[in-house]
Symmetry: C2
Subunit: 181 residues, 2 copies
């Protein structure tokens, strides 16, 4: 009977391995689902590499402005390739990302009137995803404080802090800016 | 003899075609050489597409500056990929192109202190070609007036109008600016 014994052992071993494999697979799927559940569905990723995207235009908010203390300095707008398609066509495709980069400015004491870029105040991000951000015109909004990639200033307040104002631009797909050639 | 006649005709025809082809080829080569001779060897081409290159940094020259009438406004620096390599490594490879884009600024009458970009004053270009521009540190310099791609403001005056000042930056491969992250 040694042959039968071995056959039984082999079958048992194969079953055991299959069982372990299944258990591992189920554990992996559960862990993955849990990670998805743990990440807020509408969280906007930090726009890595945006400084290499196209520079759309810039504005300056000088000391004479009532907004100077809050956001004074120089602001640069950048867009990824899909965002640039949106500026060209007037309709921003899914995946468009627009950046509004707020920097402080520093006047040169030895050279009056010559102003340089200073520290970053925050980086505003708009991401087009019509399904995810259906409640705010198809755009997700976030702001990252200073140079941080994790310190979020908007979070769940996008409807009031961002979209409330952007609704005025509904005819322009909720975007204020234009590309400056 | 009709067969021979035809053969002679065919050979003659082939010789004639070869002759015409050679004459055309020689004419083409001569025309091409002439076009090269007619184009000044050190003429810098207009940097088509630079608005899609990486935005290096910006500066502002405000009304308090003595330079305001001449170059006041906002200035943006752009670099092509090789230029960006230069900013990273400190040595600019052949083919590096750096742009210094001079724009006027316009203050919003209804919104004091809020300043927008205005008309382009001129676009300055630096091109790295160590052989062509050996006399000016390996860099060619040019400026294009307003939005023109042909109205050149520097031409043969690069040694005095540009290089004279850039020599102070010899240790930095003759480049004043740095990439602002």
């Amino acid at each position: 009977m040694p042959i039968h014994d071995n056959t039984v052992k082999l079958i048992s071993s194969a079953k055991w391995r299959k069982g372990v494999f299944l258990a591992l697979a189920v554990t992996c799927v559960m862990a993955w689902s849990l990670s998805l559940w743990a990440m807020p569905n509408d969280e906007i990723p930090y726009p890595t590499g945006y400084r290499q995207w196209t520079h759309v235009k810039s504005t300056i908010i000088g000391p004479k402005s009532s907004l100077y203390q809050q956001i004074g300095g120089i602001q640069h707008i950048y867009a990824n390739e899909k965002g640039m398609e949106g500026y060209r066509t007037g309709r921003f495709p899914e995946g468009s990302i627009l950046i509004y980069d707020f920097l402080k400015t520093e006047e040169n004491d030895n050279n009056p009137g010559v102003v340089s870029e200073g520290a970053r105040r925050f980086t505003s991000v708009m991401v087009k995803d019509s399904k995810r951000y259906a409640a705010t015109g198809g755009w997700g909004f976030e702001e990252f404080r200073g140079d941080s990639q994790t310190d979020r200033m908007i979070g769940a307040d996008a409807p009031t802090k961002c979209y409330g104002c952007h609704t005025s631009q509904k005819e322009r797909d909720f975007v204020f800016s234009s590309y400056r050639k």
